[in-house]
Amino acid sequence: MTDYVDAGEAIPHAQLSAVKGSAPATGNVDYDRIRNARSEPANWLTYYGTYDGQRYSDLNQINKDTVKRLSPAWVFQAGAVGMQSGASTYSFEASPLVVEGVMYVSGPDGRAWAIDAKTGQELWRYKHASPYDVSLCCGNVNRGLAVGHGKVYMYTLNAHLIALDATTGEKVWDVTNGDVRAGESGSVAPLIVKDMVICGSAGGEFGVRGHIDAFDAQTGERRWRRYTVPKPGEPGSETWGDDSQEAWQRGGANCWVTPTYDPDLELLFQGTGNPAPDFDGDVRPGDNLYTDSVVAIDVNTGEIRWHYQFTPHDLWDYDSTMENIVFERDGRKYVSHADKNGYFFTLDATNGELVKVFPFVDRITWGEITPDGKVTPKVYPDEEGVPVHFWPGPAGGKEWTHMAYSRNTGLMYIPVQEVGATATRRRREFKESIPYWGAGVAVDIEDFYGYVAAVDPLTGEEKWRWRNEYPMCASTLCTAGGLVFQGTPTGEFVALDEETGEKLWSFQCGSGHHSSPSTYEIDGRQYIAVPTGWGGWIEGFLPGLLGAAAGDALFVFALPEV
C-alpha cells in the first residue's frame, strides 16, 4: 500500500464561503451613546433600540403614505450544517442591531453575524459549538446580541457569555456562567450598562435557581450575581414555605429576557420567570418570590430595590420575563408590563407602586386581579390526575415577544395571543436536567385567535385592535411614520396605521414570525429588518401551527430607490 495522501489540516468552514472576514470599524459604542440612542435613530444600538424598551424609532421615511411601496431590499439566509440541537425547534428570534451601516445579529445554534446592512453581504461570522444534548425548554434560539466597547456580546445555548471583536468576529473572552448539567442554558440578548454586560439565566423548566449577572465588559470578570429566588434567611425567603426547605433550591424565576433600564434611577427592570415546578404548587407553598415579578435592581450592586409580583404562587406557568417599558407622563415615570396572566400593569418606576391594572385579553379564567391588585386564583391544577382547562394558556396572553410604545400616540401596541390549555397535575421527583413541570399540558389546537391591541397604559382603554385568525407571536415595532409593524405566525409582515389599526401593507415572508424587528437608516434610506422562521416553543404558544414551514431568513425592506 502506498503512503497516505496528505489531507493537511482542517480549515475553518467559512474559508469556503464568500464571507469577507471583517467588518468596518465603527465609532465606539459606549454607555453614553447607548444612553442617548434615541438621538441617533439611524442606528439600532441596543436590544430594544433604547434602554426604556419602547421599541420606537424616530425614522419616518417609511410612513402611512409611502409604506405601500415598501419592498425587499435584501434577504439573508442563515442555513445550517450538520446535526444541531433542537433540530425541529430552531427559530430566528433575534432583534438585529445596526451601527453605522453594520448589522450584528444572532441566529439559532450559536451563530452570530456581522452583515453589511445596506447590501446584505456577510462580513464575518462566528459559530459557538452548541452541545447537541443541551437542555432547551423552548427551542434552539437566541434573542440577540449586545454591541459596545469594540465588542459583540452573545450568551450561548450552553450558558457561556462570550465577547467577540466587533471588526473580526474573533473571540476575545469566554466565561462559563451556567451549569448545563443542571439544565441551565442561555438565550437572552445581553445588555451593556456602563462598563458592564448584563446577562440573565434560562432553565426554569428544569428546576434551576434563577439569576442575573453583571460582568466587566472588557475582561469578563463577574461584578455581581443576583439570585431571583432567595435562600433561607434572605428577604423573601419566608415566601417559600415547604417544611423540607428544598423548594427554593429549584425555584425557577429565570431572567431569560433582556431587562429594560432607567439611567436616572440606575435601575434595571428585570422580569422573572415561573416558579418550578410550573404547575404543582403544593411542593412550594407561599407566594414564591421573586418568581413572576418585576424586580428593580440597582445596576451598580445587584441589590433589589423593589419588586412587584404579578402572579403570586403561580400554578399556570405565567412567566413575567417580558419587557417592562419605561415612559414618562406629566413628570412621573412609569413602567408598563403586559403579563402572561392576561393583565396589563402600570407601576410607578421609582417604587413599584401599582398605578393601574386591567385585562388586555378577552378570556381569563385562571383567576382575577382587582383594580387594586388583589389576586384571586379560581381555576388551577390542584388535584392529581384531574385535567383543568384555563385561559390564557401557559404561553400567556402575551409571550416574551415585545409590545411597543408610540411616542406619537402614547399607546402601547400589544401582540396578543388568545389560546387556552389543559393541565393535569402529575407530581414527580426532582432530578437535575430532567423537565420539572409537575403536570401534563396540552395547549388548545383549534380554539385560538390573536390581535394587535392599541391600549392606553394609564386608563386601560383599548383604542383599536387588529384581529388575526392566528395569535400574535412576534414583537411589534413603532415608528414616527405613524406605523406599527407586526409579523404573523403565517409569515405575513404587516404595517398598521397606529391611529386606526388599518392594515396598510403586508409582505409574505414564507415562514412565521417569532422575532423582534428593528429599523435603521443608511445614506438617507430607511430600512426595516425582521428575522423570520417559525419555531421555538410552538407547542406552547400555537400548537395549531406545529406543522407550519420552518425557516431562518432575515428580510430587510426599504422604499425603492429613485
Partner: protein
C-alpha cells in the same frame, strides 16, 4: 412485537443494522465503537478516527473526552471513495476533505460537558452512517454553578 436483550453489538449485527445495505439502506447512526481520547502533557486531547473501506462510518463512532478543551484529531480515510468531515469547533466548524487513502488532522475547541456530532457533508454520507459523536465529560467550573446544595441526578 418481539424484543431482544443482551449483547448490544450482537443484536445490531443480527438485525442487520450495523452495516451498509443489509436490512436498511445504510448503517444505523450511533452503532459504531467507542473510543477514548488521550490527554497529553500539553493539555491537548488527541484521538484518531478512521473511515474503514466500504463501511461508511467513522471508527470509533463515538469518542469520549474527559472534559471540554483543545482537541487534535487525526483523520484517516481507508475507504476507496472520497469523504470529508465537518467538525464543530468554537468560532467556526472545521472542514477537511478526505480523498481516498488520505490522512489529515483537525484542531478544534469544544466546551464541556456535552455531545457534538460531526459528519461528512457529501452526498448523503451523513445518512448512510458517516456521522460521529464527540462526547465531552466533566463538570462546569465551580464559579458557574448555582449556590445551592447538591441536587439529585437521574
Amino acid at each position: 412485537m418481539t424484543t431482544t436483550s443482551g449483547d448490544r453489538a450482537a443484536e445490531l449485527t443480527d438485525a442487520g443494522l450495523d452495516g451498509q445495505n443489509k436490512i436498511a439502506l445504510g448503517r444505523l447512526l450511533g452503532t459504531g465503537t467507542v473510543g477514548y481520547a488521550e490527554e497529553g502533557s500539553d493539555g491537548v486531547m488527541r484521538a484518531t478516527i478512521r473511515i474503514p473501506e466500504d463501511e461508511l462510518r467513522y471508527d470509533p463512532g463515538i469518542i469520549v473526552f474527559p472534559h471540554g478543551g483543545e482537541i487534535e484529531l487525526t483523520l484517516i480515510n481507508d475507504d476507496k471513495n472520497t469523504h470529508c468531515a465537518v467538525i464543530p469547533s468554537n468560532g467556526d466548524p472545521k472542514f477537511i476533505w478526505l480523498v481516498n487513502h488520505s490522512k489529515g488532522t483537525a484542531k478544534i475547541s469544544l466546551d464541556g460537558p456535552g455531545t457534538y456530532y460531526y459528519s461528512s457533508n457529501s452526498g448523503n454520507d451523513e445518512g448512510r452512517g458517516l456521522t460521529g459523536a464527540l462526547v465531552m465529560g466533566g463538570e462546569v467550573p465551580d464559579h458557574a454553578k448555582q449556590d445551592r446544595p447538591p441536587q439529585p441526578r437521574p
